[in-house]
Amino acid sequence: MISTESDPPAETSSPGPRSPSGQPFVMISVTEPVKMGTGVQSYISYRVITKSNMTEFEGPEKIVIRRYSDFEWLHDKLAEKYKGIFIPPLPEKSAVEKFRFSAEFIEMRRQALDVFINRIASHPVLRKSEDLRTFLLEEEERMERIRSIEAGIFSKKSSDIFQMFKDVQSKVSDVVLGKEKPVEESDPEYEKLKNYIFELENHLAETQKQAFRLVKRHRDLGQSLGDFGKAMKLLGACEGESLGKAFSDLGSKGEILSLKLQKEAHNLLMNFEEPLKDYVRAVQSIKATMADRANAFRQHCELAETTKLKEINLDKLMLMHSERAREAEIDFKESKADSEEATKRFEAIVKTMNEELARFQEQKTADLGLAFHEFAKGQAKLAHDIADAWRGVLPKLEAL
């Protein structure tokens, strides 16, 4: 969603325009996952609904069908064209067949894709992208054609980039020019930033792991409480009389609470663990941008050096009144232009990165704050429900 002010404090999938009518807005929903095809060829298709009062988005409403690969296409296009910007991350592509289409997985993916597309639509620069419009508005057939044409080129490119930035800090090696010693920025501030990002990813991965474990604990506690409840009821039937009844009541409460625990497990998965995973992905997106920056810096250095060499060569030729001087001059001028271009590109990335970083920090404070708030609310409610349920049996127990 777009608001006319700065970005919204939390990016969610819940609809509801925040801007008063009259202001330009665009609101996108990724809905209704449907399994298409069979066996290995099967995939999930989603209904993408764009609501807008802007002409660029063919308002008031436009509906298209998209699949994960289409989202991937959009992501890769944006990553290619908008260097320096932290492209909103996609949910993982699933490699495991069996797990692929569990209801939970589908829902998590749908939610993540919804967040993804809305983040793009609310980014001051990305939302103007032509590719975004293509994604939101094109007919399915055209979309498929566009996607498959570029698929070959892209898969190589994306994997290249991700391959390279595995160790951005030390080895942004240049295979093409065969240079062994990496050319790196010597900016100490930037160095600190790189360290921060790498360490942050480790911390976040750890928290995400624990969060996932906590989800499992809720499920297990729910299961065991339910089983215990059943056993209580059986014992109650055996005991009979008022004591037996007390056992049965307790058993029923156990079963009720078991369901509540399962529900909370799901809530934690969607509203706590997933946001943490998302945070990790966002950090990985920053690392990708850092790789881009490193490449741009390298190019800027190399071209600057090449230009310098050409200048020296030109001066030499001019002194010798050589015929080749003219050719050399053209060559030098070209090189100079390229070098200046490369320098501009690099500087643009640096500037954009700084802006993006500020945006990122604010965004993540809001996202994490919301996640903690939701966690607290969910746990408070669960604890209350547990207390209330057991409290309900007390009068009967006291009467025994």
């Binding site: 939390a10 942050l200 911390h203 014992l235 993540k364 994490l368 708030h373 604890a383 007390l394």
Partner: protein, 349 residues
């Protein structure tokens, strides 16, 4: 004595007893005995196909002690066992009536009490089955609560680390804010994890009662075995006496046909009468023993029953109270955090 020894002894004794019944001129042809030996579904484990034919007496005899399990006669399943026992008693009644032998007034009472006792025994079996199940489930529950507390605490610590990291590296206000809220969350999680673990310690104590009473099932079963054993001894001795009398009658009938005195037969009869006197003594001892055990059984069962009820009541109250108390405290902690993080809530919530 060891269980399997006991079972084997019981089996042999039963087999002997059945043979004697079959050999009896009256009981051997009785409808009750025939039904008992032929009916396939008397107990779930009695099977005609498993029996071998006793060539000497021409009657099928169960070759495997299938009706005997856990040292408790007729304990599996309770219903069939009841019938089995009832059958035995019926046969016994027939014998007593048929022979008019020392019809102790105690015999009819034997039947009634047996039925009462059998009802109690069936209940105890049912209870022990339920206790086994619930004891297992209680273990699982306690472990799950433990794990929950542990993970909540560990998770809290990872967020403490994250918060410290962000604080150290902070270059903007939003970062500092984030570090702060992360720390608040982390500390709450750690606090709650302590509460969860404290609750679990309480739960362990309370639910221990279940394990305790499960353990009691064994001595109770043993007491039942003692009783059944004693009853069997009485019945065995009674049968012995009957057969001895039968032999005397046989001998007397035979010697009546011969004129004059037969010294060997006379001395044999004397021997048998001696034997009977001796066996009568043993039987009376056995009856006293059996009565004693019955009394003990009864009073013990009553006592345990009462204690169990009150212990279970206390267990339930304790369990519920601690759940309520600690859940309340946990709720309070989370509510505090929810309040502190209100500013991050979704607008309109």
């Amino acid at each position: 004595m060891q269980r399997h020894e006991f079972v084997e002894q019981r089996r042999i004794a039963l087999e002997k007893y059945l043979r004697r019944l079959a050999a009896h001129p009256v009981v051997g042809h009785s409808e009750e005995l025939r039904t008992f030996l032929r009916a396939p579904a008397l107990t779930s484990s009695y099977s005609q196909t498993d029996s071998e034919v006793d060539s000497e007496e021409g009657l099928p005899v169960p070759s495997r002690p299938q009706v005997v399990r856990d040292g408790m006669v007729g304990s599996v399943p309770a219903k069939g066992g009841r019938d089995f026992f009832g059958m035995f008693s019926n046969i016994k009644q027939t014998v007593v009536n048929g022979l008019g032998v020392g019809g102790s007034v105690a015999v009819p009472k034997l039947l009634e009490e047996d039925k009462d006792f059998l009802v109690k025994k069936a209940k105890v079996l049912d209870l022990s089955q339920q206790l086994t199940t619930i004891s297992q489930q209680a273990e699982t529950l306690v472990k799950a609560q433990q794990d929950m507390g542990e993970t909540m605490g560990e998770m809290g610590m990872t967020f403490v680390k994250l918060s410290k990291f962000e604080t150290e590296q902070s270059k903007s206000e939003s970062q500092t804010l984030r570090a702060d809220v992360t720390r608040q969350f982390a500390l709450t999680a750690v606090k709650v994890s302590r509460l969860q673990r404290a609750l679990n310690s309480q739960t362990v104590i309370h639910l221990d009662t279940l394990h305790e009473y499960l353990g009691l099932m064994i001595p109770i079963n043993n007491a039942f075995s003692d009783r059944a054993n004693a009853l069997n001894t009485v019945q065995t001795l009674s049968a012995d006496i009957m057969s001895l009398n039968a032999r005397i009658n046989k001998l007397e009938a035979a010697s009546a046909k011969v004129f004059g005195q037969d010294r060997t037969k006379t001395s044999k009869i004397e021997e048998l009468r001696e034997n009977i006197r001796f066996t009568e003594d043993a039987k009376n001892n056995a009856i006293r023993q059996y009565e004693r055990i019955k009394e003990n059984n009864k009073s013990e069962l009553q006592r345990i029953e009462k204690e169990r009820r009150s212990d279970f009541q206390a267990m339930l109250k304790g369990f519920v109270n601690s759940q309520v108390t600690y859940s309340q405290r946990m709720a309070v902690e989370w509510e505090k955090l929810a309040e502190e993080t209100k500013q991050y809530a979704r607008p309109g919530h």
